[in-house]
Symmetry: C2
């Protein structure tokens, strides 16, 4: 989508409660052994248009199944309950009923309709939700809802995350301010491919005071997810629980209609928030010390560009070399070569940031020390041109480290 030429402001310490009319809280339900907050509530004072995207994993979790139904049947929503610590995945009918009971209990306490409550869970797969603790968490969460509770909510949804992830941006239309805020969690089991719903145990919640209908919101969300959460990978493991939900309460009085300048500005704001949050997941990825943007251009098709970018971004050999600061470009060429993308090796070009590495399929003659300089950066780009067409794709990834192994060999111990 073309740039809207709109000016955007970043809201200081912004998050899901930055748009007018939203309250949030973080509470201790007691699901985490650490005793850290493990339940977030989001509540809107008014009915909200909404849209969601979810994991494409066949073993989708109970709350994902529940939310998909709500997306198909409800016209508006008012609240969302997110617990961390237990994923409520692979839990059968009992798990599904527990998601439903969670929504019903929140609705009862908040005095809204049960079908106006969405739910999400993240944590260990295979355990049932302890419903007494869940109910207790909802009670505490509901009593502490506040218009500046976004930060507490963002903290309560963390699992192996080391820090909360939030952002809010605003723009003005005819003197009226529109704000888009968001929070997300995710550090491992990150390789979302959401379908009118994305994938990874990433969970993201976006709020806005724009006025927009469900259909347009859903379309704009799908586009923004495709260019944010569906572009990231930490470990190539798609989660059972990936969920992105956007709430729009209309409080700003600014209506977003198809084909207007307002739509462009809103889409851009939504894209800024989701891209920031997606990048924040990679930055905070399990054990990650470096952020690598793998940018493939010159592909024969979009599918080829994505295959090539994902092969490089997920290659354990590339990721460990990046960790070691080793400009071992042979591993990148090998990954491109097995990715399934079609190209002639003699047309292959590779840059590390602006440093040429490979031209015409052969070493560009750059001294290795110059390449190694790039590898020392906290963030750098691996830019591939396949010389086979006009398509391109970018995937954001991290390096592969001792700490990734440590975190995941010891996850429950």
């Amino acid at each position: 989508m073309q740039n809207s030429n709109t000016c955007f402001d970043f809201v200081e310490n912004g998050g899901v409660t930055s748009p007018a009319g939203f309250l949030a809280s973080g509470a201790v339900a007691g699901l985490k052994q650490s005793g850290n907050p493990d339940m977030a509530l989001l509540y809107s004072e008014k009915d909200c248009a909404f849209a969601g995207t979810f994991t494409s994993n066949l073993f989708c979790a109970a709350p994902v199944r529940y939310c998909r139904e709500i997306c198909q049947t409800a016209k508006t929503v008012r609240a969302m309950v997110i617990n961390s610590g237990v994923a409520n995945a692979c839990t059968g009918l009992e798990g599904y009923n527990n998601s439903r009971k969670t929504a019903e209990e929140a609705a009862r306490i908040l005095n809204i309709e049960p079908q106006q409550v969405l739910v999400a869970s993240t944590g260990h797969i295979g355990d049932q939700l302890p419903m007494d603790k869940i109910f207790n968490g909802i009670k505490h969460g509901a009593s502490s809802l506040s218009a500046d509770g976004g930060a507490a909510a963002a903290r309560a949804i963390m699992t192996t995350d080391t820090r909360p992830k939030e952002l809010a941006v605003s723009f003005t239309v005819n003197g009226k301010k529109v704000t888009v805020g968001g929070m997300c969690k995710g550090a491992g089991m990150i390789s979302p491919k959401m379908i009118a719903a994305p994938h990874a145990t990433m969970i993201c919640c976006v709020t806005t005071d724009a006025k927009i209908d469900n259909g347009l919101l859903s379309a704009l969300l799908a586009g923004s997810v495709e260019n944010s959460f569906n572009r990231i990978t930490v470990d190539n493991d798609m989660s059972t629980n990936d969920t992105v939900i956007v709430f729009a309460n209309g409080v700003s009085g600014v209506e977003i209609l198809p084909g207007t300048a307002e739509e462009k500005a809103f889409a851009e704001a939504l894209g800024m928030v989701t891209a920031h949050l997606a990048r924040a997941i990679v930055y905070d990825g399990e054990g990650v010390t470096k952020f690598i943007s793998v940018e493939v251009s010159g592909a024969a098709s979009n599918a080829d560009a994505e295959k090539c970018a994902r092969a490089i971004a997920n290659s354990p050999l590339c990721k460990t070399a990046w960790f070691g600061g080793d400009p071992n470009w042979g591993r990148i060429l090998a990954a491109a070569g097995y990715s399934g993308a079609s190209f002639q090796t003699e047309n292959f070009t590779l840059f590390f940031d602006d440093v040429p590495v490979i031209k015409g399929g052969l070493p560009a003659g750059t001294e290795e020390s110059k390449m190694a300089e790039v590898m020392k950066r906290r963030e750098f780009s691996v830019k591939v041109d396949l010389g086979a067409g006009q398509s391109s794709a970018t995937v954001w990834t991290g390096d592969f480290t001792y700490d990734y192994v440590k975190i995941n060999a010891d996850y429950r111990t």
Copy 2:
């Protein structure tokens, strides 16, 4: 293929020189900084039928391109030169010419035709072969060829391997003994998918004194590679250099013809050697402490079975959990769920060896301590039944450890 009911003997300390008429050696060309042997020569006293399978990576190495041409043009071969330390991949026309010169120099010294010499290289990608060292290595290797040189050759082709990998088996037909011997290397960049030629930098050389024509040998090799090297993964990174070559010199006087009992016995022996060597690569995989056989059955198609097995076998979360001895089966279900295989989750079954974990998509009720017992074994099976059909596939993999990261973050330092 049905079992032949043949008795097979394992040759003590057997390898590529176990079949009659083959000589081999290992020499120091000076490519490895360590000063360890880095050049293997294999030589047959008689003309050999032969067949090869090679990596399907687009960035295939120069020796792969060279050998493919020999496979298409030569009727017989006599020798093979394998260097370790430099992969001769991504080296352009100069690299190709260096492979040709390597073959020509070996032919000159061994007094055979240049097109009767095959070549293979393994090591760092992107450097040109230092031809003075290569020529020196060939000279030394040729002068030390011997009928018990198989072990020295197996040692000379190692890179990050911690031990040589060899095997020979024999069987008797009408009082005449047929022997099949082999050696291979490979520890990282292992995920072969060879096409009438396999993939991974694994390099494997098989010898036999059976008499067989190139066409049948090629067909039997393709079958045995499909069930051995194409079944293994260490890191899901397909190499630029994977090569499997089989030499058959006919010295045993036993002719292998299609549709005979001899063909069955020979195929079985070839299968035993390649399966042993493929498993040995995983056992000696970079940083590997455990050998896991991922066995998927009940799939709707062979492609689905393989997709599911590979997704589990390559999942960083599964592999780190296995390293940690954590029966974190949720990660296995998640991998099956995103693999692309079609199935109903309520028909999903999972066993760790003979311990039931999941039945009907839900926990089977086994105590976690029993599952953890299995995880402590040096070797165990992850058995999945998708309940969707009759197809099955097995993939052999290892765990993901601190040492894998260490080896590959520091490979060249």
